[in-house]
Every structure is written in structure tokens, then in C-alpha cells.
Subunit: 449 residues, 2 copies
């Protein structure tokens, strides 16, 4: 059990990653806003020794979409839910998505520092940018920012947040009752950041996080996203269909790190996987078909339109896609656009086949079969430079997560590529990432030496 | 036990409301960021049948203050802490302070709706505005907004947040697995708010809060603050030294409600009280003196300077205050300024006596004595049109809260003016406040009739 260990995230998206999961016979009406249910699932993930659970986020209800009525779009805000889960779990990491587009860095730095203290060092921040007109209009803007501008702001935003986390050195709180000194002011630093997008004085009003920095996670796979990841991320969530594509991405991103003075081990690349598990391959295939049959046609077409940024509602659903623009003209999620385009070009799928293909996994890799077959596929990617681990996306909760924990995890453990017990207490320790020294403490050391 | 019942809030400010609480022999070094400790105190407040626990907030560390080193200024962000407490408590209301000055209403509406679902209807929002240059500079601004401008924005902000809470009608989620209809789009509403300060499209991306609206709390006592309270608040926290002042405020604010179509019972006025409890009056006085002796002089002077918005560090500490400007020239907390000015004018206190006076209670009413004496004073205000209840500010945690729950609460219960058990499950039920109908549902009813 001393070989390299796979990292695993449990991607909590209730009632499940499949677009029609809520219609599954096992799904419950109130599941999405039922904390007790979500808590039981978090404890299940912890029983499975997952490194972390992960929450995505959005800042618009999608009410202008033609399929709004057909899917769940009312859910917990990630921060309240993660804070609630922090106090009823012990070991599992808690990663939340927070946008850099419609938030203030002081508020974001503070909330993650606070979650890190609340959970004794288990917080992680999935850094995203927000696109879409509907989101922009919830925040006083007429339309979305351009893709490049969103990433410029995101780069600067991450810098400001990490400086704020560092603004209290680890030993800034003295707590000397006798002398009356609570804090050492020489170890609490203004950051005085003045940049193109942001101006923030600091210091933060909370002690340095338990982990130094909560773990920084990134999900974009565009060129700007890859550069941001190479410079600042410690975990990357990504979506690839084939091992060749995943390997190319893996070496591309890790190759960009040296110029920022970083070692490839300081970043864990974790593609999404959407497992459909059966005791036999036939049972798994039947489960897949059961879900596909639950997708209302309007939802499928709308989901595919959204992924491409092109309205497909006028085209025959069993015909091919219309001519697509080049990816350079896309202002939304460039990597997802390219992924669908490649699928259509390579396999000649119809609109229905394409939406069925993405309806569950949303462009992530579907792996279907017995626990052994699923473990084989994960192991292959893990041992061949395509992944440091995986972000697991159960099609339907609770069944999808329960089956992964009860059947697939033991198989991975048997092969010696996944932990049997937690060996550390912080998310950073689970992921084998070092605790960063405060950049202000570093400066002090530099002056002294 | 069927008479009018007093409402009680437990004002959680760790390590205690006294400025030198952290130096008290009982205080622990890590108390402020120790969730287990805070959880035990929340359970104690719940055992005492408090209506709610309440968290204040600030968005600057105060590192430019000359007394920065002498007091605790690193603490949990209220939302993460309340969400953590929501899942380990059952009955007590959870009220958090969130500023309208440096936040987006979409984010604030969402977080409180989320906390309300997480806690099954126990969330409350203490609406404040943020003053001070140091706070402004953490949010890209050079200096604070003017007092009137902050309140203009606050009025509009509260309107937008309540509209967002209403944007999903109570029965908007249909969840018909058979037909594939999850939500009824005719019951989910864009708010399309376009105002002087804010522009927000909506709808929110979470179902209507359990309470309809989380309870709206207000703490300002300036003229603008009173008007905001009369129009929108359901609870007012306030600070008065004498029953006459408290009665005048009580009838003033309740008198302003009619012009907004509101009944006086729809608003609970809860002055802060700072109780020092002894088994004898002498023991209580000794406890008071013990705390006063722990105040470093620099902290006392700095605290008083801050409350007045005037630097007093050059004046003899045992001499009088310098000439003060008129309250109309103050851009900070006008009501606190006036309170100190009145104290100095009335009783001719020195700078030291003034800072000792405000060091604990910060301008709130100190009540010192045996449990019976404290209950007498609370009962007097409660039964004579000065208060609907109180926000209790323990000098030091855990002792101050434990003693209130163990000795004062039973005395109030014996007199039949405080509940023996919770009779409802939501904060709104504890406070005897009605659940509001969605303003969009109201419109639908109006059209039909």
C-alpha cells in the first residue's frame, strides 16, 4: 500500500448528474433541499475515504431557458451547505465553487478562511468565472464580460485572495493575558493591492487558515484556463473522452508549471467520470437506457443548445447538427463546445444521439460496467499519465454514490491504488500538497538572511 | 403562562462583550475560532429557550487602530458559523449581520434563503450599512459613503432582497415525475428591478425560504435608521440607558409604522442589556470591577475615540472630554455618538470613567445584581412600553451566558413572562410574527378577484 495513491472527489449534484435524475424511481421530491439526505450522502462519501466532496454553482436560475420547467434549478448556495456539512463530518475535504466575476475578493477570502477554521483544515475553493447574460443581469450588468476579460480578473482575484489569506502570519496571535497583548501587529500585514481590476487594502479580519491556503481548484480547460491552472491551481477538474486527449492535456498543463517555479506534483489533475455500475455489464447498460428514456426531448435539445451556445430548437432532432462556427468565435465555455464538435465530427451523431450522450456526463467520460471493469478503466488512466485521480459524478443519488462506495472503492483498495484509511486530517494532507508559507513570512526571512 | 411573553436574543460576541474579556481568567486562548466551544454555548442558549442567537460583523480588521494589538479582531465570518450551528441545533433562531454596502443583493438573498432551508426556518438577517475608511478600502473604494447615501442604498437593497425571496412562489415546485414537469414557470418571477443603486433581474435560484422571508432585523437608531426600521424591520436592536429614553424610542418607531400600512405588533423592539450576575449584589459589583481593572488604558481611550469618531489620545485620561461637535456633523454611528455625549454632559464623567462605562456594554444598558434584581429590571422595561424583549450581551463567555441561562431565565419563567418550552419551530413563530405572502402571489390574487 505504499505505491502512488489515486485522489478521488465526490461531485455532489443533487438529485444526480443525469439531467433526468429527478424522474428516476428512486429520487425523492425534496432531495435537493433536504439537508438530512445530503448529510447522509456526505457521510457515505467519507466512509468511502474520498479526498473531498465538491459542489458546483451558478448564479442564475435559467428561467429564460425553454426547458426551465423540466429540471431542478433551485438548490442550496454552496457555502451555507459546506459549512453545515463541515460540522457533521470529520475527514472529508469540502470544496465549493465561487465565481470571481460577481464577488468581492475580501468576502471570498474571508469565507474560505472561515470554512477552513470551521472544518479544521478541509476547505477548497473551485475558482470559476461566470458567463451568460442572465447571470450578468442579476448583478447590475447588461451583458457578460468577454472571456479574456473574465480570466484577467480571475488571475488578479486569486492573487488578492491568497495575499489576504497570508495577511495574518501563522504566529500573529500572541494571546498574552499578562501583558495584555493579543496580536503582534508586526505579523499582521496590509496588502495594499492596486491592480487593473481590484483595489484591496487588507489585512483580513480572520487568522491565517489552518491549511495556510485552502486548496485552490480550477475547472477551465481553455488556453486561458490552462494558464491560470498552471500558475495557481492545486487541483484541476477537467473533461476528456479518450485517454489520448487526457494525456495531452495532462502533459500540456504540467509542462506550463515550470515557468511559474512550480513542480508538477503541486497540481493534481482529476478528470470527471460518470460511472454506471451494474453487477453485470448487461445490468449497467439497462440502467443507462432507463435514464436516457426519462429525458424529455425539449430538455435534451435545450441542454445541447446551451453547451454549444447555439439554438437548435428549429432542427430535426434525428438529423445532424447544423454547420458550427469555429471555437475562436465562442465566448462561453470553449472547451465544452470543442468537445461536442469533435464528437459530432468523429462519430456523425444526430442531435438526439448527441444530447443523450451529454445528458448525463455533460461531456465527461462515461464508464459503464461491473465494479472491476470500472476500476480497470480508472487504473488505466491513473497509471498512464492521464490523471492523478478522478472527480466522480454519480448519475443518481443516493444509488450512484452508494454503489461506488460499496463496490468500486473496495476494488481500488484491493489493487493498492486507493487509501484504506485517512492518514492526515486536512484536505491538503489527503492530496499530498504542501502547506504554503505566508508570502509575508517569506519576505521577513529573506530580509533576515 | 398565557400573558405576553418576552423575546430574548443571545448576542454572541466571543470571547465576551467586555473589551478585556479575553484577559479574564476563565477565557481560553482559542475560544474565538473554536467551533466546539461556540457550539456548546449555542446549545446552552437553546437550553435557555432563547428566541435567537445573534452575530454582529465588521469588514475590516481595525489594524490602523492604535489599540489593535490589545484586542481580538480575528473571528469567524457570520454566515459560515451560522450554517455550521444550524445543523447542530434544533430550535434557536440564527441571526447574522450582513452589510448592504459592500455586497450584491442577489448573493445576500440567496445565502439567507439557503440558511433558512438549512435550518428549517430559523434564519434572520440583521441589515446594516458599513462605515469607515478602512472598510471602504477593502472594497475598492477610497472612502466611506455618506450616511444618507448608505441608507438610500440600504432601503433599495432590502426591497430587492425581499422581492428575490418572493420570486419563487410557495407552490412553484410541482415535481411531477410522470409528466416531467419539475417547476411551474408561471409561479417563478423575474423581478426586473431597476433602481437608483441597483439593477437585478432575478428570479433567485433557490426555492422560497421556509419562513417566506427570513426575519429582518435592524440595529440603527438614527432618524434614517428608525425610518428604515418602521418600513421594513421585524426586530430592532437598540441601545438605551434609561427607561424614559427607551420608551420615547419605542413609541417613536412604532408610531412611524402606520404610514407603511404596518401594525405595531409586526415589529419587536429589543434593547441590548449587559448583565453582570452575582449570587449577591456585592459579588456582582466585584465581578464588574475585576473586568474594569483588566482594560489597558490605550484600549479604553481608543475605544472611546472610535465611538465618538474623535481622536482622544492627546487628552489627560482623568480629565474631561474636549468640546464635541454637534451630532449633525457626524458621519459614523450617530446614535452612539449622542449617547456618549449625553453621558458626559449629564454626569460630568472623565475620559477614563467614560471608557470604563462603555468598555463592556458599548453604550448598552448595564444591569448588575442578583438574578432577581436583573429580572426586576427586565420586567420593568418589558411591562412599561420600553421593550418587547432584550438582546442579552454576556460580559464573558461561557460564564456570562451560563449564569443567565441557569439563574435569570428560571426567574423570568417563574414570573410567567418567558416561555418554558418552544411552542413553534421557526424563528418567526418564536417571535409571533406572521409568515408573509409572496408579493407575486398577492398580485395573482388581486388579478383574479
Amino acid at each position: 500500500m505504499t505505491g502512488k495513491q489515486m485522489k478521488l472527489g465526490a461531485f455532489f449534484m443533487l438529485p444526480g448528474h443525469h439531467v433526468a435524475a429527478w424522474r428516476h424511481p428512486e429520487a425523492q421530491a425534496d432531495q435537493v433541499l433536504n439537508f438530512e439526505f445530503i448529510k447522509q450522502q456526505a457521510l457515505t462519501a467519507e466512509r468511502g475515504k474520498f479526498d473531498m466532496l465538491f459542489l458546483a454553482d451558478g448564479v442564475a436560475a435559467g428561467a429564460t431557458s425553454s426547458s426551465f420547467e423540466q429540471h431542478a434549478s433551485a438548490y442550496f448556495e454552496p457555502f451555507t451547505l459546506l459549512s453545515g456539512l463541515a460540522t457533521v463530518t470529520k475527514n472529508i475535504g469540502l470544496v465549493g465553487t465561487v465565481s470571481t466575476t460577481f464577488n468581492e475578493p475580501f468576502n471570498v477570502a474571508r469565507k474560505f478562511a472561515s470554512l477552513d477554521h470551521l472544518s479544521n483544515g478541509r476547505a477548497g475553493w473551485n475558482v470559476v468565472t461566470s458567463s451568460g447574460k442572465e447571470a450578468a443581469q442579476n448583478f447590475g450588468q447588461q451583458d457578460e464580460l468577454l472571456h479574456e476579460k473574465r480570466y484577467e480578473r480571475a488571475h488578479e482575484f486569486v492573487d488578492v485572495v491568497t495575499k489576504l489569506w497570508d495577511s495574518w502570519e501563522d504566529d500573529a496571535i500572541v494571546y498574552n493575558k499578562e501583558s495584555g497583548q493579543y496580536a503582534d501587529a508586526t505579523k499582521v500585514h496590509a496588502i495594499n493591492h492596486e491592480g487593473e481590476w481590484l483595489s484591496v487594502a487588507g489585512p483580513l479580519n480572520i487568522a491565517r487558515p489552518v491549511q495556510g491556503h485552502p486548496v485552490v481548484v480550477q475547472a477551465g480547460s481553455s488556453d486561458a484556463g490552462k494558464e491560470l491552472a498552471a500558475r495557481t491551481a492545486e487541483v484541476v477538474f477537467t473533461a476528456w473522452q479518450t485517454i489520448e486527449e487526457a494525456q495531452a492535456f495532462y502533459s500540456d498543463v504540467k509542462g506550463r508549471m515550470a515557468k511559474y517555479g512550480r513542480n508538477p506534483d503541486e497540481l493534481k489533475i482529476m478528470p470527471g467520470v460518470y460511472p454506471i455500475i451494474g453487477q453485470t455489464e448487461k445490468e449497467a447498460q439497462e440502467k443507462r437506457q432507463q435514464l436516457l428514456d426519462l429525458i424529455p426531448e425539449s430538455v435534451g435539445v435545450s441542454r445541447l443548445s446551451q453547451q454549444l451556445g447555439i439554438d437548435l430548437s428549429g432542427y430535426p432532432v434525428d438529423g445532424p447538427l447544423p454547420e458550427l462556427p469555429d471555437v475562436s468565435q465562442i465566448n462561453g465555455n470553449k472547451s465544452r463546445f470543442q468537445l461536442v464538435k469533435d464528437l459530432a465530427d468523429r462519430d456523425g451523431l444526430s442531435i438526439r444521439q448527441l444530447y443523450q450522450h451529454i445528458a448525463g456526463a455533460r461531456g465527461h467520460r462515461e464508464i459503464i460496467g461491473t465494479p472491476e471493469q470500472i476500476a480497470d478503466q480508472l487504473q488505466e488512466w491513473f497509471e498512464n499519465g492521464a490523471a492523478d485521480g478522478f472527480n466522480v459524478m454519480p448519475p443518481v443519488f443516493p444509488e450512484g454514490l452508494n454503489d461506488f462506495v460499496d463496490y468500486v472503492i473496495p476494488e481500488l483498495q484491493k489493487r493498492g491504488i486507493f487509501r484504506e484509511e485517512y492518514t492526515g486530517t486536512t484536505l491538503r494532507e489527503h492530496l499530498e500538497l504542501q502547506r504554503p508559507i505566508s508570502q509575508f513570512a517569506k519576505k521577513a526571512i529573506a530580509v533576515e538572511s
